[in-house]
Amino acid sequence: MPMVTRPEFLPGLPNWSRKTFFALGLAAICFGFAFPVLWLILTSLRPESGIYYVHRGTEFTLGNFKEVLGQERIVEAFINSAVISTLATVFSLLVTVSSGYMLSRFTGPAARIWFGTIYVFRCVPYISWVLPLYFVVQSWGIYDTYVGLLLPHIAVHICFFSWLMKGFFDGIDPSMEYAAMIDGCSRWGAFIRVAIPSALPAISALAVLCWLFTWNEFLFALILTGNRVPVITVVMAQFVTEMGLHWNLMAATAVMALLPAFLIALFGQKYVIRGLRI
């Protein structure tokens, strides 16, 4: 068996220059990708007097973060966003794992109808149902409350995540579940004790995505909340118009909004990559 090598990058050049080119290219791509975030972080560390010439001067400060954290509304928005994202993740997973399992393991009219429904609702633009949803949550008395934001969030994840979850379960051999059922497990037992543990990597991936999506969501929060439940994305968007000139505070808030998402994603990256094979 001959050694198989991949075709080399830029085969005409000597080894060291090829490596240098490759490294330089990589560095350029990474820099280009990370630049907006780096620039934001740099801006957030500059004093108010320095932000109009962020590219000059060497004065740095953490004062922006302090000032932002001193504003009650922003702190409240952070807490609200975190609570809603976490709750939405837990409940979304509870709902979508079982619906994805159903799509994967059963054929027949029920599964076909459910899949069709999910696909159609996945296509419906948010705006088409969030506009009237405003009236629905108002008439149920849950406008501008946790519940009123949480339930629509869970509902919106159903379509996409059931679809992903179906893919994950499709990749898991069902014979283990059949074996468990022959040994006396009920259907529920087979689902909860056999299928869910083997889908755990995929479920973790979904949890990471779900948390990020909810944390980053804007349109729902904009329409379904008012003053009582401020959410970080909405507060920031209002910031741009209200405090348009305080770019240092703006940047500090944005950096803080990025931070939890970064941590979650860094921690969850390997699950996402392993879990997202469709």
Partner: protein, 290 residues
Amino acid sequence: MFGEQQRFVLLLIAPAALLMLLFQVVPIVIGANASFRDWTLYNPKKIWVGLAHYHSVITDPAFLYVVLPNTFIFMIVSVLGALVTGLALALLLNRPFRGQKIVQTILLVPLMVAPVVAAIMVRWIFNDQFGIANVVLETIGLEGQPWLVQRWSAFCIIVLTDIWLWTPWFTLLLLAGLQSLPKEPFEAAAIDGTSAWRVFRYLTLPMLRPVIVVCVVIRAIDAFRTFDIVWTLTSGGPGRSTELFSLYAYVLAFLNLDLGRGSAAAITGGLIILVLGVVMYRVVDRVARA
């Protein structure tokens, strides 16, 4: 009434179905009802007006000649852009090199950035007085531009922001796809001394096609309803020249306070994307079976 298996199947989807009924079906029905009525927020008379709202939306020149073209151009360019960049990066990450993990983490950064935050960053970079883009331009002797108040530069910036935001999504799914491809054909091609381009064109691309098609469909449907980045970057301005369909419906309903017409616009857009979605689903199905 039901057998044991049917009960199990129904119970599995019952919570999901209930939530969708309450928070998607009910609002859509209410919205459809409102779209046929004279339903302004300050004076909800709820008089039946038939298709008048739809007629006024479809014949609105702003909708026909600005919003719809914008939405479709945005959808096509940003999906293609993110697909090409994402595929290139996935191919790059699929070969082992030193520091591969770090590069991968950096390239996935935009996935974690909220669209609103991304829009704020971009607004700051392209700020006409203090933004770094203009500073760089002026340093090399060019004239700075008021980027976000000119129609086409604003539109390009919106599209580029969207591509930046969604490239990692393609990278991630395509990389996962690449890593699950069988190794043998590539080894055979390497033994035959096939050029890298031919390997890509005749092996990688066809085998990756199902994943690519699914990604494109999902992303295209999402791109059609983009709201956050446009709202935060330009709010549809200058004038209404960068308005996309979601913004158009939002403005009608919540700024002009005309829920009837807003709903009609939202449903018109919904129908358009539904038809597109069904067509695309057919395409996916055919590709997946081929």
